[in-house]
Symmetry: C2
Subunit: 391 residues, 2 copies
């Protein structure tokens, strides 16, 4: 069978706030091949990814993503990988293409899973999925008091791990940042796993990051995430040498396998965090899982949007160690929840399980997300090349 149609749906909250909350919009992808349908999600900047799918060709290595996808045979997982290679070659000079491909790749895995009646992780070669320990991923409060309340709230909800990030962290003094971390630890309690996300705030300034280490150690923070931008390998390695027992985590910005490999090889990480909606999809994320295991670095999903994206992000490392940690967005906007009919919820022990249904194991709820659909039209030379498709 062949890929007959690829449709993009841009969803957004009526108002998008200027905060580090990636669940305020979404770009869904629906792929159809014969009688089968699969859904995926691209991370970030929906309009730009749509443009990269439909834009006119610039030259032979800068084609719209569409040219490498529509009409392609899709019968086996190898076809998905072949399509990914084709996109990377034919859209080599189209920077946005990796993000766009990501949602398509996810949708193709969902589609093949449905065709074969298997969860995606089984198509990837894993016999069973182990439960994960979700960490409640959220933004710092504007004040330590607010962070304290947020930490108490997630603890009361039964989470055994929590991550705080962005907001004021790293923008004030080291003492102000320490107050935030101590507040998080106090609210979470002594036995919770505490993670801190600096959101690349120090770019590649090792000294700025080092000034925060004492507080992180005192609060027994398991990892410090993204003190630097993804490419600052030397800065990561230098900080890692000083940070023990706090480990460094990074990788969400990777949009190719090789970027992740470089982090694994040169940055001294304890954890590599991959967003299947950015790195080129489940196919590339799976390659990173294998590479991370070979190097003794722990793989963790990155996801901050819908449960469709959450399921996609978990498939590549479904067969992790029991109780491996996973990112879990606890304060998503309504649109992110509206995308799927079912949700992946923690059980009484605070664990989550991958859905066992075919594909990603979730039903996309078109009626649910319809109110958030953004009408887009792109016209080139008087001809409409994209118009938000009907549901």
């Amino acid at each position: 069978m062949r890929i007959d149609a690829v449709d993009f749906y841009y969803l957004s909250m009526p108002e998008v706030l200027d905060i580090g909350d990636g669940s305020q919009d979404a770009l869904l992808v629906r792929v159809q091949a014969g009688e089968y349908v699969g859904w995926g999600e691209c991370e970030a900047a929906p309009l730009v990814s749509i443009a990269s799918f439909v834009c006119p060709m610039s030259h032979s290595a800068c084609k719209p993503v569409r040219d490498s996808v529509l009409g392609q045979p899709i019968d086996t997982p190898d076809d998905i990988r072949r399509i990914g290679d084709l996109v990377r070659a034919q859209s080599l000079d189209l920077l946005q293409a990796d993000h766009t491909l990501s949602g398509i790749d996810v949708a193709l895995w969902d589609l093949l899973g449905r065709r074969f009646g298997e969860p995606v992780y089984r198509l990837l070669g894993d016999a069973r999925a182990t439960p994960k320990l979700p960490y409640a991923s959220q933004l710092f409060g504007d004040t330590p008091e607010e962070t304290l309340q947020k930490a108490r709230a997630v603890r009361a909800q039964g989470y055994r791990a929590a991550k705080f990030g962005w907001g004021p962290y790293g923008h004030g003094t080291p003492d102000a940042d320490a107050d935030q971390v101590f507040a998080a630890r106090e609210g979470l309690g002594d036995d919770g796993v505490l993670l801190i996300d600096a959101g690349t705030v120090w770019l590649d300034d090792v000294d700025a990051a080092r000034q925060r280490l004492d507080a992180l150690r005192a609060c027994r923070v398991r990892w410090l995430e993204e003190p630097f931008v993804s490419g600052a390998l030397g800065a990561y390695r230098q900080l890692a040498a000083h940070a023990g027992p706090v480990r460094l985590a990074a990788g969400e910005g990777c949009h190719t396998y090789h970027m992740a490999e470089q982090l694994l090889d040169y940055a001294g990480l304890g954890y590599i965090q991959i967003d299947a909606g950015r790195i080129g999809g489940i196919s590339v994320a799976r390659k990173v899982v294998t590479a991370a295991r070979a190097r003794g670095v722990t793989y963790v999903n990155h996801t901050f949007t819908s449960h469709l994206a959450l399921s996609a992000s978990l498939q590549p490392y479904a067969a992790s160690e029991p109780d491996a940690i996973c990112e879990y967005p606890v304060e998503p906007r309504q649109l992110a929840l509206a995308i799927t009919a079912e949700h992946i919820l923690p059980d009484a022990d605070g664990r989550i399980y991958l859905p066992e249904g075919p594909g990603l194991g979730l039903t996309v709820n078109t009626a649910g997300f319809a109110p958030y659909l953004v009408d887009v039209e792109i016209r080139v030379r008087g001809k409409t090349i994209y118009r938000t498709p009907a549901l």
Copy 2:
């Protein structure tokens, strides 16, 4: 003074061919601040870069590029660098943003150069520009015979150096590739500098690349360019260990400073090739010049479009060693030539000189490029957020 307006102009040949010729379209940027105007050019995928400038915000680290540019103070080179940092922070999750920023950064340097009556390279701190030895950059012929004729033609035009790339190279057998390289050497003559561009064809397959080395050595090829994708640092390093005296060249795919730094630190390159229209503009390219010198790697421009882009690509390493090599597109499409009133032409000795006028030293010819203007309209929620501006 403040940035009052940023306008994008998408140009294209009426027909874009499926060949590796990046001069078939172009994205020009005009920036206005007070009474001053500057022009720049972004490499590749015009519609996608336009979308990244005007798209709605996704969250605080995924804003349209516009939000970090319009209204910003612009009085000194430090303002240009500050704006670049702001774009990188506020569009962290918008992958295309680096390409879009690149043209804006170039236009801002042009604008400040015009304001202060100085060429850009002088604003960068170089007292004088040294002449460059342009290499005639072109595609392989479809057959060795065609390549032979192309090489003879550039030699007859007085070029002392030539690069052949893309086309069939790397797609057939090592013997077929060798025939192409021998044809290029024969046509260019014994004394010409010969460069070969593999266009990332072997991805990260070191063995495939090694099979081509004997022919490259026999033909005294100075560099083998992009045998692998930009991120395949380990593959580059392995090949470099076997390739002498042929040196490796790479870097055109870099869209951040750190990507270039990684190539410098880990890939065993002899040459780093930076496209100011992709890496974030002249500001970032200049950082790479400094880093390359510190590591004994030779910096070379990458450019394959207009003379506006050529001038921009030369400014960061204007004060190179005399007769440093530079990329020079010899078979650009008409639109690329139509963009500027003046052109940077080799003298009788086959050298080129940077323009000495203010800014990039070239006059953008709006009447000349008007026939190539592509009409684009982007509508979101019924409102036009981009329409090709009037000239």
